[in-house]
């Protein structure tokens, strides 16, 4: 098992370095000159040239690549152009915010999706099944940025200003302006309230996919011989479904975890921007607009590593839920 993990991680190294290389060239060959963005208007050409030299942008691209790669392998991602601090510190500061958002979205997506899928399968071809199918397909086919805007409209804007609900939800940021003045419990509640809409926007689309998948998987398992055996044993229907059917139906759904991670991370780019969530996605978007090359490259690298590790975790989970699978 440990040997398998080590082998998988070793095999991931060329993959991650390949991603880093591609990102380096895409970013550096794209039009746009960081030096001219960061210099004040009307500055002399000599000053801009000096700045370009400071940023190392005057060197030929292959030389810049070798230098960047060498530094990165030693854990040095360079200095952010826009923030004037080491990229590593920027990411260390911002990564947890994205992890919180992604983890809660993932939890919500799989929790809700599995529940809906099970209900649909148990009530196959009934009105409940049909209604849930329509509902999940509705969310499945919706672009997440539009869903996010609609949620803001309903649960923030109208809920607060038009309908006057006491439970409106904040539409931007991770905490309220007066967060520091709150008591400890209020602070927790404040953070949770800010988490609801962004994670729901991310999760709903994924949950719909999980539900479709879970429904299919459940329907397959329910027809299996061992479900009939479980009934023949005299187990109550509840136990048959929850203990025998759901646990087996979860096995293929675990694979979705690995497949959904890239979808989730690219989702954060959009959702964090819409909700002004200070995470990796928003950092990437901001850095791209500001031609902050080191941050963009490091961000893409971090995303790649997270996807690789996430997929490894999904594969290990697969072995954990299915005793027929052993990694040597």
């Amino acid at each position: 098992m440990v040997g398998y993990i080590v082998r998988r991680l070793l095999a991931a190294i060329p993959l991650v370095l390949g991603v880093a290389t591609i990102v380096f060239f895409v970013v550096n060959l794209a039009p746009g000159d960081p030096a001219s963005i960061y210099s004040a208007p009307g500055v002399s050409p000599q000053a801009v040239e000096q700045m370009r030299q400071n940023m190392g942008l005057d060197r030929p691209i292959h030389e810049r690549y070798v230098r960047w790669m060498g530094a990165m392998l030693q854990g040095d991602f360079g200095i952010s152009f826009s923030r004037n601090q080491p990229v590593r510190d920027v990411i260390a500061q911002i990564l947890p915010n994205t992890l919180i958002l992604s983890a809660s979205a993932l939890l919500l997506a799989f929790g809700a999706g599995i529940l809906i899928g099970v209900v649909q399968a148990v009530r196959q071809n009934t009105f409940t099944d049909g209604a849930l199918s329509v509902g999940t397909l509705f969310f499945y086919s919706m672009p997440s940025f539009w869903l996010a805007l609609m949620l803001i409209l309903i649960f923030s804007l109208y809920a607060r200003n038009v309908w006057g609900w006491p439970l409106w939800l904040p539409a931007s940021g991770m905490v309220s302006v007066d967060h520091n003045a709150m008591g400890p419990w209020e602070q927790v509640l404040d953070r949770l309230r800010h988490l609801v809409l962004p994670s729901a926007s991310l999760a709903l689309v994924l949950a719909a996919g999980v539900a479709r998948y879970m429904r299919g998987s459940m329907l397959e398992v329910i027809r299996q011989d061992y479900i009939r055996t479980a009934r023949a044993k005299g187990l109550p229907e509840r136990t048959v479904i929850l203990k025998h059917a759901v646990r087996n139906a979860l096995i293929p759904v675990v694979t979705l975890l690995g497949l959904y991670l890239p979808v989730l991370f690219s989702g954060t780019v959009v959702i964090e921007t819409v909700f002004a969530w200070p995470g990796m996605g928003k950092l990437m978007v901001d850095s791209i607009f500001q031609r902050d090359y080191p941050v963009v490259m490091a961000g893409a690298f971090v995303f790649a590593v997270m996807v690789v590790v996430g997929n490894l975790v999904a594969d290990l989970l697969y072995a954990a839920v299915d005793p027929r699978i052993r990694y040597e």
Binding site: Q224, D225, Y226, R228, T229, A230, R231, A232, K233, G234, L235, P236, E237, T239, H244, R247, N248, I251, V321, D322, P323, R324
Partner: protein, 341 residues
């Protein structure tokens, strides 16, 4: 329900007019509804301690009969009485009681075991739901006992089904069925998924356990030699109906129904000429679809009987008594003499 004084002779299981029809939808947009008559009016008794062999071709409704008997599928019509109690009227609680007295061994031992549960867990679950062996310690002891009964070692309990061989899996299936100490054991082709040498071991085990626990058995198979070894009495099914039932020696020596004779004639046997009436009888055509069974006798389109005529096309034959515990559903078989041909 009327019951006489003679409780001793009352059969453990009484099945009358059992039917199971499946609804099929076909045609464009599934607008056509059709009935698949898997079981179409089956009646039989199972005396206590008796083993009834149920034979017939694939798709004749043997397994559906067995599953309907235990309410693993809901019958469409008919009556089932188990030890004098109406099985079809049972609610969930009574049904759990039934499952403690009537158990089933399935055909495919791998697919009928939960792949995510260790053998011991699978067995202990039965004990737990029926509150049989006390606490966890008692259950563990009983599981070891059960494994021993089916000639497995305690270490097999720690394995998953995929880590066992076919024969071992079926032993687990048998242990699972025996865990509740049932009165009735339904064996739904328990050896047809197994290799020939393993088959003999499992059959021997079933026979031994049957004797040891005084089990009443409904033994389903399509292999006649297996049925001959294990049953006291045999019922032959064709297209959802029983066409002949007789004590095993009678049925194998002097089959009366043309279908039974064809079935016996088709079976390979090590000692040709050992049985009477063994001329080669090849049936023409295929089994008709149970969606549109033929009118009259269901067997008439393929019947090799020399006297087959229009009457066979019209009259649905009933099971008529022909001898002691011997009943045949064929209007052309009347006197015992005519079966000799």
């Amino acid at each position: 329900m009327s019951r006489t004084r003679e409780d001793d002779v009352e059969p453990l299981v009484r099945v009358r007019g059992l039917k199971k029809h499946f609804s099929l939808r076909s045609g464009w947009l599934a607008w056509k509804r059709e009935q698949l008559r898997a079981v179409d009016g089956v009646s039989f008794d199972l005396a206590r301690g008796e083993t009834l062999g149920l034979v017939g071709e694939s798709g004749c409704g043997k397994s559906t009969t067995a599953r309907a008997l235990l309410r693993l599928v809901e019958p469409t019509a008919g009556e089932i009485h188990f030890d004098g109690r109406d099985v079809l009227a049972m609610g969930p609680r009574d049904l759990r009681g039934l499952r403690q007295r009537a158990q089933i061994i399935f055909q495919d031992p791998l697919s009928s075991l939960n792949p995510r549960m260790r053998v011991a867990t699978t067995l202990a679950e039965v004990l737990k739901v029926h509150r049989l062996a006390g606490d966890a310690t008692g259950r563990r002891r009983r599981v070891r006992e059960l494994l021993d009964t089916v000639e497995l070692s305690p270490e097999h309990g720690e394995r998953y089904p995929h880590q066992l061989s076919g024969g071992q899996r079926q032993r687990v299936g048998i242990a699972r069925a025996l865990a509740v100490e049932p009165d009735l054991l339904v064996c739904d082709e328990p050896v047809s998924a197994l290799d020939v040498p393993v088959r003999a071991q499992i059959l021997r085990l079933i026979r031994e356990l049957q004797r040891e626990f005084g089990l009443t058995c409904l033994f389903i198979a399509h292999d006649l030699s297996v049925v001959e070894q294990i049953s006291d009495r045999v019922a032959v099914m064709y297209l959802g109906r029983i066409v002949e039932t007789a004590p095993t020696p009678v049925l194998f020596r002097s089959p009366a129904h043309p279908y039974t004779r064809a079935l016996l004639a088709a079976a390979p046997r090590p000692d040709p000429g050992g049985r009477a009436g063994t001329e080669r009888l090849l049936l023409e055509g295929d089994v008709p679809s149970p969606v549109a069974p033929p009118a009259g006798c269901p067997f008439h389109p393929r019947c090799p009987h020399p006297d087959r005529d229009d009457e066979c096309r019209r009259v649905v034959p009933c099971l008529e008594t022909r001898g002691k515990a011997w009943r045949v559903a064929c209007i052309k078989v009347e006197s015992p003499r005519s079966s000799r041909s």
